[in-house]
Structures are given as C-alpha cells and as structure tokens.
Amino acid sequence: MTIDHPPPAPTTGPVPWEKSFAQKMLEQMLRIRRMEEKCAELYGAGKIRGFLHLYIGEEAIAVGALSCLTNDDNVVATYREHGQALARGIPMRALMAEMYGKREGCSRGRGGSMHLFDAERRFFGGNAIVAGGLPLAVGLALAAKRLGEARVTAVFFGDGAVAEGAFHEALNLAALWRLPVLFCCENNWYAMGTALERAQAETDLAKKASAYRIDAVACDGMDVVACREATEQALARLHAGRGPQFIEFRTYRFRAHSMFDAELYRDKAEVEAWRANDPILTFAARLRREDKLSDAEWAALEAAAEAEVADAVAFAETGTWEPVEDLLKDVYTPCHA
C-alpha cells in the first residue's frame, strides 16, 4: 500500500545536547501532549467548547523553534497554538482557564482555545483567520527595525495558509524591506480535508519563499533536534543580515482537524505511519539509547506533567466567570485623560 504523504524515517542519530537540556526539551513536548490530551477529554465533558484544534504530533516544532528565541522576540501563532503558548512560557493554569472561558485565563476568558494571548511574553495570539497572522508579523518586525530593537518576530502558520494572498503579500513585504521575520510553516499536509497537492500546483513550499528571495529550508518537524537546529541556523542567517527566513517544518497532526471530523480525506495507514514517528516517543528512545534518560527519569517527567495538568484543571475549575455587566468591556481602550 502506498501512502500519499510518507513520513521520513525516524531520526536515530545522536542527540547533540547535554542530558539536562535534552530532558528539558522532552519535558516541554510532554507537557504540551498531556495538556492537550486532557483538553480533548474536557471537550467531551463540555468544559471546553467551540472549536478545539489539537497540536498532538506537532510538538517538536513549537518546542524546538521557540527554544531558540529570547524573551524579547515576538511570537505570532494560529488557532492551533496551544503548543506555542505553552512553550513560550504562558503558565498552563492560564491556558486551561482560558479554554474554560474563565476570567483567570490568559485572554481573561474572552478568547478561548483559538485566541490565546500574553502581552508580557510578547505572544500576539491566537489568530483564527488563516494567514491572518502573517502581515501582522511583518508589521511587528517593521516596528522593531524602525525602533532599533533587536527582536525577531516568529510567525507560525499551516500549509493551508500558503494559498492565501496574505501569505504572498507578507513574504514580499518582509523581503523587500529586509525585516527580521522568521516564517515558520507547519506543513502537516492537510488544510482541514484538503491535501497539499490538491491545494498547490507547486508542493515544494520552500520554493515559494525562494521566489521572494527569502532563504528557505525544509526540516523534519517530527525531530525536535532538527527543528531547533534549523531555527538556530535561520536566526544566524537573519542576524548576519540576510533578511527574513523561511522554514518548512514537515509534520503531521495525529488527531482530527478540530474535534469533529470523520477523517475521510486521509488513509488510516498514513496516520499510523506518522504515529510511529511520534516526536516524543522517538526522542525519548534516542535519549535512552544514549543513557540520557533512565526509566526513573521518564517516570518522573510523566508524573510532573500529569501533576501540572491536574493542577491547571483544578485552577480552571475554581476560576470565576466574568459578570455579565462587564460584557462591553475591552472594545476600546479606556481613556487616560
């Protein structure tokens, strides 16, 4: 049986990181995974409503890429942004409370799963309009350049976004003005039910960026080491004055597009093949082989993640509902006069 989008062979090579850092990366991926598994359960229980897009299977990208950024950098994400939000350092409590719609959430409960924001961490959302974040990222980078700030703006978007006009306009602007934007394309081969080859005449996405004279690479998005290295190298080129950078992270979403989805558009064998390439399990296996992870350490990571999730859920449960009298709040900025 042939698979439409075969996964790359799982990476087995040595992990070029010392044990503590490697475990840190594993821990970050595991936190995202466990949090989202709980979200799916809470959705079933009616605690989380609306649309819920899980990142399960794609964790290596957010963890690898964001591990290269500093607190001064900007992050712009999509509606599938739980992973970026957590990896960026937004407390799990605030994320869970947001998904409940509670006041204690990172967007004060107003946004929900698709609109996670955190000004302090320069996390500019949570955008549910496909490709909506790309022009915004260009503007953030324009401001940084104009104000003489060293920050980089990393913007995440899916393969589907590449078809939107906003993608092309944003890439051209960033290249034309040589702005410090890191374009992070999460190619999971599908935009809802539409496979990449049904949406793009040219499926080599890096070529799109090259057409705008932007340095572009593709990397194995299932391998956190590759994700981090590709990002480090792109940032080095950016800082060396080569302008905006584009990385295509090749990945796969293990779950449905949102919570309801008959998945008639893809083969079960394809899903299974990618699941065998689970970014967390394959990385953990490599660490074990290199004696960088013992059974006890793995168990401890698991236990810590479980405990954090339980704590976040308890926090969200005891969170408060915003009073209806405040309905019209935050439409405009209050006057300072």
């Binding site: 609306g50 490709a131 006009g165 019209l328 439409v331």
Partner: protein, 320 residues
C-alpha cells in the same frame, strides 16, 4: 427534513438539472462540505463540477465571477461570513458593479452561499453576522432562508437570477426540522408573515426567526398578539409587506443579530419612519447584538445576542 437536508437537496437538484451549475469552495468535495451539505457530491457529480479550492477566498470568489460571466452557473460556498471578508473586494468591486459599469452589457449570474451567525461559542473571529453590510450594496441580492422550506426552494430562483445573489445560512438553523412542499416555490422577492398577529409586528430574518416566534408564543400568553414577519430577502427589501404589517399592528420591534449601529435593523426602522410614522402607536424598537465582538464564554455570548426575553422586554416597553 432538516435545514441541512433541504439545502443539500436544493444543490443536488440544481446540479442534476443544469450542467452549467458547478459547486466550488473550501472542502466542498472530499471533505463533504464543512457542514456536510455536499456529502457525496464529489462521487455523484465528479471533480469537474465539485471543485475543492485552496484557502484562497479572494481568488476563488473572483474565479466564480469570471465563470459566471463565461457561461457557467457557479455556486460558490464560503465557509463562514468571516472569511467572506477576504473576498469582499471581488464581491463588491467586481460582482456588484459589473453590470452597471459596463453600461448593462454584462451580468454576473453568480450564487454565493455562506454560513453566518453566532451561538456556538466560536469566539470573536468565527461568529459574525454581516448581512447588513452586504445588504448595503446595490448590485447584489441578499437572501436569508430561515425555514426549511426556504432552504429547499430559494436556491433555484437564485441560480436563475441574472445577477449576483448572496445567501446567508445561519449556522444555528442547520438542524432545524420542518416541512417542505413537493412543488417548487419560486419566490425570492417577498417577505412572509410567519405568525399572524394584530398588536405588534416582530420584524426579523435568519437565525433570529425562531427566537421571535418563541417570544410571540410567550407574549400570546400575556394577551399580546404578535405578528412575526420574516424578511427573507434583505436586498431589495419587500417594503410593501413590511409596511402593511406595521400599519396593521401599529407597533413594531426589529430583531437583528447584526451589531446595532448601522445595522439592517436601522434601515428597517428608517423605512417605517418614512412610510408609516403617523400610524405608529409607539416608537419602533429594536433588539440587536450588543456592540462587542462575540466573547467565547457561553454566558457572555448569549448576553451579546438577541434573545426571546429581550424581545419580550422590548415589546412590553412599547406599552409602558
């Protein structure tokens, strides 16, 4: 049958009856439609007529306009009204203007369908109602089927219309069950009285119709006979039916899920003022969405939208 089944039957019939009809949009084919409206169509009609498009709203709506000019009868589906904003340039600057700016030489026989409305906790970027915005534009016709019967029978006349027709399907109605007639009904010009009454006219459309009907039942128990008028066609407005209803009842409340300022409700009130001011026993009232982006939590979302209780309160206010 359900609203969803009715819409599906209407599209299927159009595809069967006229080889020029094509359906295009995001995930209409393999996925079977975002809301399963076109499930099975790809197998039945083939990929030449059921066109899955990339995420390129501006591009495929514009292509729909060109295809209509070129001799096809496209049904272009946009997932939700929010995403139609990405295509607004083609709809407004091209489809709506083409006939006029060509001095009547070219018409654009295009149908654009889209889901609209809030109520499912989809938060700010997925819950808009922009019927009023579209109804502002000369050159397009705007329909809002609010019953299963209309979901079944409004598409064919829309397709037969020589000009662009935009159809708003409120997502809160998709599972609504109702009767449909065997024989086609051919009317995309008139408003309809859905419940006859004599004391107050509740004027509404789309997703607010069930709420108005619910309010009317409750008012009836309090001795107020409300007439419920379903506008159905938001542009051009059926002013005669509207004014007749207001004249009969002498009181009116307009119910509109669009934001209050500059809404379609405001336009309806202005028409009533122009034509029936001296026949009113009370100022016209309205129940619209609160002027806030739709918040995610259920209690805030519900508070932001028109509700039967708000309609009842507005009606009682007319008697205060």
């Amino acid at each position: 049958m359900s609203y969803r089944e009715a819409m599906r039957a209407a599209m299927r019939e159009a595809l069967q009856n006229d080889a020029r009809v094509v359906l295009m949009g995001e995930d209409v084919g393999r996925y079977g439609g975002t809301y399963a409206f076109s499930k099975g169509f790809l197998a039945e009609f083939g990929s030449e007529r059921i066109l899955d498009t990339p995420l390129s709203e501006l591009g495929f709506v514009g292509a729909g306009i060109g295809a209509a000019l070129g001799g096809l009868r496209p049904i272009v589906e946009i997932m939700t009204v929010n995403f139609s904003l990405l295509a607004l340039d083609q709809i407004v600057n091209t489809a709506a203007l083409f006939r006029h700016m060509s001095g009547g030489q070219f018409s654009v026989p295009l149908v654009i369908r889209m889901a609209t409305g809030a109520g499912r906790q989809l938060a700010a970027q997925h819950s808009h109602s922009f019927e009023g915005l579209y109804a502002h534009i000369p050159g397009i016709k705007v329909l809002a089927p609010a019953t299963v019967q209309d979901a079944r029978w409004m598409l064919a006349p829309a397709l037969a219309d020589p000009d662009p027709v935009v159809i708003f399907e409120h997502a809160g109605l998709f599972n609504l069950e109702g009767e449909v007639t065997e024989a086609p009904e051919w009317d995309i010009a008139h408003a309809r009285v859905r419940r006859a009454g004599s004391d107050v006219a509740l004027i509404t459309y789309g997703g607010s119709l069930p709420k108005a009907l619910e309010a009317a039942e409750s008012l009836c128990r309090d001795g107020i006979e409300a007439e419920v008028l379903d506008l159905r066609v938001l542009r051009p407005l059926d002013e005669e039916t509207l004014i007749a209803s207001v004249r009969k009842c002498r009181r009116a409340v307009v119910i509109d899920e669009n934001w209050r300022s500059g809404s379609l409700a405001a336009e309806i009130m202005a028409r009533i003022m122009e034509r029936a001011f001296y026949e009113l026993d009370a100022p016209v009232a309205r129940v619209a969405s609160e002027e806030v982006p739709i918040p995610y939590p259920r209690h805030l979302e519900q508070a932001a939208l028109p509700q039967p209780e708000k309609i009842i309160a507005a009606v009682k206010g007319l008697y205060a």
